[in-house]
């Protein structure tokens, strides 16, 4: 239709024109509405499923719930690791009108350090507006009360209670239990992300680390409806977490207490084992530290104090301390002599106070410079004669010694269930070849025979070795954890002791030989010549033991060891191994006192305390 230009108005035509255009407009309106409806049909019907899913994803969130960590009890049922509520002061940003003023008011009410505020502001930057951000941890009851009283003019300030790990006997159990701490970057890559989704802490050391899987438990889940800003509106479904298992340890807290009291200020370690099953009754390293310090991140100054202390409180001497075992190896060497038939019980060796190898003028000295005279194996153990054992070890040779020491667990990790121990060192020809690229010298056999030279053992190894001796040569893997809580009728499941893997193919011990060694070890305590005779006073059972004194500082050929002249740090380590009662052993103990001097005078009384505490818990041992 070609439009024309009309020169004058024509109402009728214009009216018709308008009618036509209005109808077009009405049609357009219907078409536009139809397009909108088509589009809505596409969204609400065709793609309804898709958008429904997106809508559900928007509002429903799966939140993990952390399981409560299992508690740990000692042998007597005393709680030694628990979860206690701790009060934290937290602030929700969106409810605070002026943060600076709020912080100022809070600082005037309770102590808040600049560090707290700095950390708070940093964390606040990362969190959402409605998230509660902690400002102060571990509020005291008094501080909680002060906040509560002033809460009306502190909107957005909340006191929260959450469970944190607590070790009621921090110092006493630190080296056994270890501690939990915040999960590190490294650990994050190792753990199951689902199970640890809500967990903040993980075992770092000791039982807490070795039995993490049992203690942790299984994560729970809850499906919640959240709004666009992530705030939880309501809980739709909840699967409860299954809490971590409670653990019962073989450790006896009383023994720890007595051992630490007996050690006093001395640095050292005490390990006690039940020879019948390898149960670790005590695992003490002194000095200890308060493991609670580590739970929520140790402060720099505390950590510095611990690490810079010359007595190394963080060092677990019982598992990681490697000492020359000194004369404590003599019963084992002696037994080897009998077992390999290189000596007889009646054989006497003359001890002039020194020993000389053929073709050499070097004198290997006895601790007693006047000598012990003609000595049998029995006498040599009782009086700890070095010359007899120089002679014996030469007769045995390094190969037999090395094999035999391994049989008692020296030179390899004890396979203790909580891990973290070191193998020590039993020297051998092969070892020397690889480590030093040198041949073996006979003189080194002599030193090895009296537990000096290259020979290194840990307190746990010494305790387990003497326990093996007490248990007629049957060695167990030391076991700290005794039982795991279960849902069964008994309420727990015992973890049976594991026999240690034999390291060499040596045949079982001859009972008669073993008996001779045991008699000698009893005489160490219960005879007039015994090096540990002092501790025999006032006990109603027999103890079999052996003292040891290991050199820290090499003396010159003609020098005389005078303890008083030497600096404390260079003095000999005092050692003592024992088991009791000698006829039916229930406890085997190894004690080492660093720079303690003589084994009989310093280490043996500590062992006696522990034995007494275990066998006769009601009575104190009479002081000698």
């Amino acid at each position: 239709m070609v439009s024309r230009v009309w020169l004058i108005k024509d109402p009728v035509r214009e009216r018709r024109l308008f009618r036509f255009r209005s109808i077009l407009a009405a049609v357009a309106a219907v078409v536009i509405t139809s397009i909108l409806i088509l589009r809505l049909y596409f969204l609400q019907v065709t793609n309804h499923e898709h958008y429904s899913t997106l809508s559900a994803n928007n509002r429903l969130t799966l939140q993990p719930i952390a399981p409560t960590r299992g508690m740990i009890f000692d042998r007597q049922g005393v709680v030694i690791a628990e979860n206690v509520p701790s009060f934290t002061l937290e602030i929700v940003r969106e409810q605070v009108s002026d943060m600076e003023i709020t912080l100022e008011v809070l600082s005037s009410l309770i102590t808040i350090s600049d560090g707290d505020i700095e950390r708070f502001k940093r964390e606040m930057g990362r969190k959402r507006r409605f998230d509660s951000v902690p400002l102060r941890f571990k509020l005291t009851d008094e501080e909680v009360a002060i906040i509560a009283v002033n809460s009306h003019h502190l909107p957005g300030v909340e006191v929260h209670s959450r469970l944190i790990r607590h070790y009621p006997f921090g110092q006493l159990t630190a080296h056994t239990l270890g501690y939990v701490g915040r999960i590190s970057e490294q650990e994050l890559s190792r753990i199951d992300p689902t199970n640890y989704a809500a967990t903040t802490h993980i075992g770092k050391l000791g039982v807490e680390k070795s039995h993490e899987a049992l203690l942790h438990g299984e994560v729970g889940m809850q499906q919640v409806e959240t709004n666009a800003r992530g705030r939880v509106i309501r809980v739709i479904e909840r699967i409860e977490p299954s809490p971590g298992k409670n653990l019962y340890l073989n450790i006896d807290l009383t023994l720890h207490q007595r051992a630490l009291t007996a050690l006093g200020d001395e640095r050292g370690a005490v390990v006690a084992i039940d020879p019948n099953n390898g149960a670790v009754l005590a695992l003490v390293s002194n000095p200890g530290y308060d493991s609670n310090l580590f739970v929520n991140g140790i402060s720099y100054s505390d950590y510095n104090t611990l690490t810079s202390s010359p007595s190394k409180p963080l060092f677990n001497r019982a598992l990681k301390g490697q000492y020359p075992p000194g004369s404590t190896v003599k019963p084992f060497i002696g037994l080897a002599g009998l077992e390999f038939s290189v000596i007889t019980p009646r054989l006497k060796t003359f001890c002039p106070g020194w020993y000389q190898l053929e073709g050499s003028d070097h004198r290997y000295r006895d601790w007693n410079r006047w000598g012990h005279g003609a000595t049998t194996l029995h006498d040599a153990i009782v009086q700890s004669c070095d010359v007899f054992f120089y002679d014996l070890s030469l007769k045995l040779g390094i190969d037999h010694i090395s094999d035999y020491m391994h049989q008692f667990g020296f030179g390899t990790s004890s396979a203790i269930d909580i891990g973290g121990d070191v193998p020590g060192l039993v020297p051998s020809r092969e070892w020397k070849k690889t480590a030093k690229n040198e041949g073996w010298f006979p003189g080194e056999t002599l030193n090895t025979g009296i537990g000096q030279g290259f020979f290194l053992a840990t307190p746990i190894q010494l305790a387990n070795a003497v326990a093996t001796l007490a248990n007629s040569g049957i060695r167990y893997q030391p076991q700290v954890v005794r039982a795991v809580e279960t849902q069964s009728k008994e309420g727990y499941r015992l973890l049976p002791g594991q026999r240690a893997q034999p390291t060499t193919g040596i045949s079982p011990l001859t009972p008669l030989n073993l008996q001779r060694i045991q008699e000698a070890m009893i005489a160490v305590i219960h005879s007039d010549q015994g090096t540990a005779r002092r501790i025999s006073h006032g006990i109603h059972y027999t103890i079999a033991g052996k003292t040891g004194t290991s050199q820290v500082f090499g003396l010159g050929q003609d020098e005389k060891y005078v303890a008083a002249d030497l600096e404390k740090r260079l003095r000999d380590h005092a050692l003592f191994i024992a088991y009791a009662p000698a006829d039916a052993p229930q406890i085997a103990v190894a004690v080492i006192v660093e720079n303690g001097g003589g084994g009989g005078s310093t280490a043996a009384p500590v062992a006696a305390e522990v034995i007494q505490a275990y066998l006769n818990p009601m009575t104190e041992r009479d002081a000698p």
Binding site: V5, F18, Q44, H48, A228
Partner: protein
């Protein structure tokens, strides 16, 4: 007979169109219902909206009393006044939400672009009513200038949505005046390059962003695409019958932004589903059709042109808002008439319906006389 006389009373004495009045009241009621849900049952918001609606209906009743002939006489003055105000806004207006739209007069804050929504179709209808129709070329040109000047002033503020409404109201007057088809074709062809030029020179970055977002909202799901994605989720998850009143999760859990203002249509879709939406769209459509019917029954050219343009502008108003909420058009920031919360636009809108009613009720009843 009593009923008929009551109807007569409303029509002749109050100068109100009964059908249109009922449609508008129904729509306002639906609007309050949706707003109650969208605002998370905020009674304070409802009260404010009710008083705003009351004011708007009052303005409508007042305007319905003014005969079209009077409006026709005042057209040029109103337009001139509104243009001056617009220029003043650009010079000394108050800045709100990043755009300069307000004129602070101490007591009230005026938004002169609202006057323009009425002034532009009025002045063009006034200009054309004595001219022979379809309009001559130079009359078309003058009409276009009446339309272009305020549109450009408002674009400068910038207020894309209002500019669009004003431009289309002017264009609709010309279309109803019988603008020749070949001119319509040429103008449509000219529209493409001018849109392109506008895109390059006339738009702010955020406006360009909104348009880009329309075509690919997922490219920036947490930024500019967030509105449209959440809106589509709300609508789509509503399905055929909806989640039910007050049960829309997208809106109540605050995933949907602007849920009580520009995006309130998504709340409606989520809670009432396709079924409810079709009813609502039919209600809107019938209002437009009633407006067109009133215009076609008008006795003067001025009234016809103005009435038709106002009815169609209302259609544009509704379909641009819905188009943007359902992801067909870019987000331009227009409320959904009579349902969205707030805005001085509601008063202007009701004023335009007042004009329509006036047109319908001030006819000389030739047949009855």
């Amino acid at each position: 007979m009593r009923l008929a006389s009551a109807e007569d009373f409303i029509q002749q004495r109050l100068h109100l169109d009964l059908l249109l009045l009922l449609q508008l009241l129904l729509l306002s009621a639906v609007g309050l219902l949706v707003l109650y849900s969208a605002s998370n049952q905020d009674m304070e918001m409802i009260q404010k909206q009710v008083s705003r609606l009351a004011l708007a209906f009052l303005v409508m009743v007042l305007l319905a009393q003014i005969p079209p002939a009077a409006l026709q006489r005042w057209s040029l003055s109103i337009f001139t006044f509104a243009t001056i105000l617009l220029m003043l806004v650009l010079l000394l207006g108050t800045i709100g939400k990043g755009a300069q739209r307000w004129l602070d007069l101490g007591l009230v804050r005026l938004q002169p672009s609202e006057f323009m929504k009425l002034a532009v179709p009025m002045v063009i209808a006034w200009y054309l009513h004595e001219k022979p129709l379809p309009p001559w070329g130079r009359h078309t040109l003058v009409s276009a200038l009446f339309c272009l000047l305020p549109t450009l002033l408002i674009l400068k503020q910038p207020d894309l949505g209002t500019a669009l409404l004003i431009a289309s109201s002017g264009v609709f007057v010309l279309l109803f005046a019988g603008l020749q088809w070949h001119l319509i074709g040429v103008l449509s062809l000219l529209l493409l390059p001018s849109v392109y030029l506008f895109w390059i020179f006339g738009m702010h970055d955020y406006q360009r962003q909104r348009v880009m977002t329309l075509f690919n909202p997922e490219s920036d799901p947490l930024g500019s695409g967030y509105h449209i994605i959440q809106s589509k989720i709300a609508i789509g998850s509503g399905g055929v019958f909806g989640k039910g009143w007050l049960n829309g999760t997208q809106s109540h859990l605050e995933f949907l932004p602007e849920r009580h203002t520009d995006f309130i249509f998504a709340v409606f879709c989520e809670e009432f589903g396709l079924f409810g939406v079709i009813l609502l769209l039919i209600l809107y459509l019938t209002i437009v059709l009633r407006g067109l019917y009133i215009a076609s029954q008008a006795q003067t050219t001025f009234a016809r042109l103005l009435g038709g343009a106002l009815a169609m502008t209302f259609l544009i108003y509704v379909s641009v808002n819905i188009g943007m909420v359902i992801g067909l058009l870019p987000v331009v920031g227009l409320p959904l008439p009579l349902i969205s919360y707030g805005g001085s636009s509601i008063v202007t809108l009701m004023a335009s319906f007042g004009i329509l009613m006036s047109i319908h009720t001030h006819r000389k009843l030739l047949t009855n006389a």
